[in-house]
């Protein structure tokens, strides 16, 4: 037997081969009706080897989950500290969209399966929850250093909102068979979330009254208003 896992690259290839074989079988004859034996056989390996590459049968559908989480962490580490945290989080979660868009065929098959098989739907929800936790952790750290009293709560809520927006865009795009402009939908959806969770919450309540004479030059008015708005 050739030994694929001897080299790291070979391991990756076998992983992908197993995942591909599994998805095809799931689509062809149903998830429950497909046994791990069949998946392993289709990939030309033993059943025991399958469980060395995936912890469980349903993990095979979300094979690249860990990579994406790692990318998200990198995005956070490399993010400009002056950018709006919510904006950064949206950008990070956009990586999920990218990875789905990169392999449309698998994404569509997975979508069909997660819509059909309850246990796979649950598995996907759990996967999304892991993204969401990473988002929440980042946001909590940022909100805290901004001196937000309710940082933990706001972080959890914002992370959930971002994840939901992401899922909504993703599902819409998958339902269109990958035809929709995913970037545009994502921008719209994230704009809604960013807008809802801007730092406005307390500041928006602040009433401001400007009193000037009619002889004040326009540029002075603009400068003063701008200064007042951006002061904090």
């Amino acid at each position: 037997m050739t030994r694929a896992g001897a080299t790291p690259d070979g391991r990756r290839r076998l992983r992908r081969a197993l995942a591909a074989a599994a998805v095809d079988l799931f689509v062809a004859k149903g998830y429950e009706a497909t046994t791990v034996d069949e998946i392993a056989a289709a990939a030309g390996v033993g059943r025991r080897t399958f469980f060395r590459y995936f912890d469980a049968k349903d993990d095979v559908l979300f094979a690249n989950h860990d990579e994406i989480v790692a990318e998200m962490e990198e995005t956070f580490a490399a993010a400009d500290p002056d950018r709006d945290p919510v904006e950064v989080a949206c950008a990070a979660v956009g990586l999920v969209l990218d990875s789905y868009a990169a392999e449309l065929d698998v994404s569509l098959k997975r979508f069909t399966l997660t819509r059909t098989v309850p246990s796979l739907r649950d598995k996907e929800v759990a996967t999304v929850d892991r993204y969401q936790r990473v988002l929440a952790r980042y946001l909590r750290a940022r909100f805290t250093e901004q001196g937000d009293e309710t940082a933990s709560l706001r972080a959890a809520v914002a992370a959930a909102a971002i994840a939901a927006a992401n899922n909504h865009v993703l599902r819409r795009w998958l339902r269109s068979g990958g035809q929709d402009d995913i970037a545009a939908s994502a921008a719209e959806a994230f704009a809604l979330v960013i807008d809802a969770f801007k730092v406005q919450d307390a500041a928006a309540e602040t009433t401001m009254v400007a009193v000037m004479t009619t002889s004040t030059p326009l540029h002075t008015v603009i400068a003063k208003v701008n200064a007042a708005l951006t002061e904090p």
Copy 2:
């Protein structure tokens, strides 16, 4: 053998007995280490009977899930159509808090388990997702009839935010051992969400410029500004 399931009330009692026995065993010797045989034996029934009352071993931890969902649906059906939909949704999800608070001891044990055992955490996440879907469906209907263009997206995002706020309050309360004032935390958390998802989103973007002579009486200024602000 006495036949508990002969009457609907007897069925409920056996369900609760099974759930209680299961939770105690899970806490005592660990979730994976507890077999369904042991749970059934502890409740004085056969293993086969257990699976007539619960679809799966982990379902036993979330036994009253269906009842709560039903209560939420009732809440929506009976809700004042003029109330803010997000507010109604928050009230409905508050039922979850109530049901947890009603049986503190079980809630605390379940909390320990879901924090410890990954598969139970996933199961809980899936359970929350079901609440969230119910919320989203209600909100989508209400937003749509309000003529909201992006009703579906806003509904999904708001539902996720509400669910996250609810979970945050719940976890905080459980970590305090049921000592915190759960109603107060809930009010604060829901206020944050309601505030973030008020209809302001589009309106807040609208810039308004008022031009009046210095001779305009104050009450006229106020009246005109107020009319302009409340117009839509």
